[in-house]
Amino acid sequence: MPASEAIDIGGGAVTRPRYPLRRSLGSLAGSSEVGLKASHFRRPWLAVGLLAPQLLILLFFFFIPTYKALSLAFVQVDPFGGTMIFVGLDNFTTLFSSPEYRDSAILTLWFSFVQCFATLFIAGLLAFATDVVIRGRAIYKGVILLPYAIAPAISGVLWAFLFNPVVGPLAHMLQDLGYAWDPNRRPFDALLLVSVAAIWKHICYDYIFLVAAFLAVPASVIEAAAIDGARPVRRFLTVTLPMAAPTIFFLVVMNFVYGLFETFGIIDTITHGGPAGSTNTLVYKVYQDGFRQLDLGSSAAQSVVLMVIAVVFTILQFRSLERKVNYQV
């Protein structure tokens, strides 16, 4: 049999089955609607083989950790695994009745919200300005993209040092201006510092997407608006922005995911979640409780909660991608 016949993609439903095995596969494909999606492989091991790398990645990086987290969430365990007591939902009830966890959840929501929209707003301004800047546009873009190339831990250490209340030069500047800057004692200062660092780091990401989205707006539409007498700001607000809406919605989701899950490095280097838990987001708390304090049961329960949140965001993100397809001009 020629090798080219081994795989039959696309036309599976049309090809007449020649062997019993193929027949069964063919009828399977046939039953699930004839169409573009009804491709199939004539030899099941080939399909399995091609899927294997992806499945293995999922197995090792998703299913096994998920199983571990789920199994740990319902027990209390000695860190070394010597003793284990099944406690049912105790870890969850303790968690939800703990004021520290509630504070952390409120903080995370607030932080993600502010971070998300502040990033989007600033990135939007910069992207809008990109159209206006004619000279040195490459340099302008380069400077804006720079923070993205710096590792979170490094940027965190820099921010922590610059704004250290005892030795930091920028902290001294603030103090000289009469502002009693001290992120070790003032939760607001700590939160502000972490937020600014997180926003600064993420602006570039939003910027790239927004510049691309603004460029994708057809020049003819904008010219038509210009002929109708709309000035640049008006054109931006009434033409460019609505047409870039799918991208903006996508970025809102991505920013939330970033704020929720990816600000760990910045928090770890700038505040360690302090003072008094005022920058201890849900993700950082999982790490604190699990890896610093070795309370694996509670940490696992917290990660299950986070997993649920992550699933919700994944669904939102898929929906945003669909919307993007529908709206594209």
Partner: protein, 441 residues
């Protein structure tokens, strides 16, 4: 031309083979002993020196030391590794992790190991405060390695400029001096707060002033111990620290800056920090510095401080020859000569009487008086149930809570009493959880 090329290539290959053979042979002869440790900077360099000295002293074993982050991070790495059977042969674990390690089921008690491997170690020779902490039922569970205690470091130049010869030995007296340093504009930062202040300013404070920290002799009497430090002088201590922080007398270094560097750079005039800061202070401080025992409350007869630092644990699940290597290394570390060298190079206290007497006899403490302060503080008075030390399961966890609650005092969210009440309540939950998991141990 071609033949020379071939020749030189074969020559190179032969040389490479011989070389590989030689190194391969020596690597095969030596048994690798993995050791995870948790001290860095100059102290870390000294650890590497110790390892290389041991490796040179014999040709059977090769100790490979890896820095795994601070004590908590090293412990977390150990836990993760142990669960997948990738643990090191030796672990350096802090005094705070003592109970957790002791009951972990992951260790071989050091006396059993040494006896089985045929070493005779005199466990009675440890200096009293060290023995009092590490010896359980007459036997040590781990090898005391780097033992320290917090002492009061001060900038003698600054004190002189403010008209003081030395810091006062009471907190009340020291408070006046620190405020004077600030008011006379000698220095803007009279005191820096150490990163592990809960160890010095709270736990050691409690021991020295003979306040109970928890029931059942601070945990020595059983797992059903309960924290009580919210009903003792600790409340006043936290209130005093809060006042100092508010008045700019006590400064919190925060992230990105090591508190001790605020002292060695001359930014802050005093700090209560480990005696192990000696190696760093001696190298970096460019002013006249000195140290003193930690202050105590007025009108109180001060007791001994408690031991800090860490010990070396032999970890289970290793082959017989690796265990033999661990024992050989422990035996090397416990030699009086090595103890003496280690203590001199780092500032940790000599843990055996033999080493201590040796240093004393050669006049080392006369030349370096600050080196003896820790020993003096550790052996002051007759130890009581309040001052012997602390034995709490999951002590890392209750410590993290204590720090978090005290931070709430710095921010003004809670009063000292509220914060300590909450800390005791949450800490007791952790003790109960530990008791439940380890009932009958």
């Amino acid at each position: 031309m071609a033949s020379t090329y071939v020749k030189s290539v074969t020559g190179l290959l032969t040389a490479a083979a011989v070389f590989a053979g030689a190194t391969g042979a020596s690597a095969a002869e030596r048994v690798k002993i993995e050791w995870w440790y948790a001290i860095s900077g100059k102290l870390g360099d000294t650890v590497q020196q110790l390892i290389s000295d041991f490796n040179k002293s014999q040709d059977k074993y090769e100790v490979v030391g890896t820095f795994k982050g601070n004590y908590e991070e090293t412990m977390a790495a150990m836990v993760a590794a142990y669960r997948v059977n990738q643990q090191p042969a030796i672990l350096q674990s802090a005094e705070r992790g003592f109970m957790t390690m002791l009951n972990s089921g992951a260790i071989i008690p050091v006396d059993q190991l040494m006896e089985k491997q045929g070493y005779k170690t005199d466990w009675n020779d440890f200096i009293k405060p060290v023995a009092g902490f590490y010896i359980v039922n007459g036997k040590p569970a781990a090898l005391p390695f780097n033992s320290s205690t917090p002492i009061l470091w001060y900038n003698a130049d600054a004190f002189k400029a403010a008209g003081f010869d030395a810091p006062s030995d009471t907190w009340q007296g020291l408070e006046k001096q620190l405020y004077a340093l600030k008011e006379k504009k000698v220095i803007d930062c009279p005191m820096a707060l150490a990163g592990d202040f809960q160890w010095s300013m709270i736990e050691n404070y409690s021991a020295i002033n003979n306040f109970p920290f928890a029931t059942k002799a601070n945990g020595y009497g059983g797992l059903d111990t309960e924290f009580v430090y919210n009903k003792t002088g600790v409340v006043g201590q936290v209130a005093r620290m809060k006042k100092w922080v508010d008045d700019g007398v006590l400064k919190i270094a925060g992230q990105g800056v090591a508190p001790i560097s605020l002292f060695t750079s001359g930014t802050c005039a005093t700090i209560v920090n480990s005696t192990a800061s000696h190696s760093g202070v001696e190298a970096d401080a460019k002013f006249k510095w000195s140290a003193a025992v930690m202050p105590h409350e007025e009108g109180i007869d001060p007791k001994n401080g408690t031991i800090g630092g860490a010990s070396l644990w032999a970890v289970k699940g290793k082959s017989e020859e690796v265990q033999a290597g661990v024992a050989a290394f422990f035996n090397f570390v416990a030699q009086p000569g090595v103890q003496e060298w280690w203590s001199k190079a780092t500032g940790y206290v000599p843990v055996t009487n033999a080493a201590y007497q040796k240093m004393k006899a050669e006049g080392y403490f006369k030349q370096n008086p600050t080196r003896e302060i820790a020993i003096e503080q550790l052996s002051r008075g007759e130890p009581t149930d309040n001052s012997r030390g602390f034995r709490f399961g999951n002590h890392n966890q209750s410590t993290a809570i204590l720090i978090e609650e005290i931070q709430a005092v710095w921010t003004g969210k809670k009063t000292p009493q509220e914060a300590l009440d909450s800390s005791v309540k949450r800490g007791n939950e952790i003790l109960r959880q530990y008791e439940k998991l380890h009932a009958g141990k």
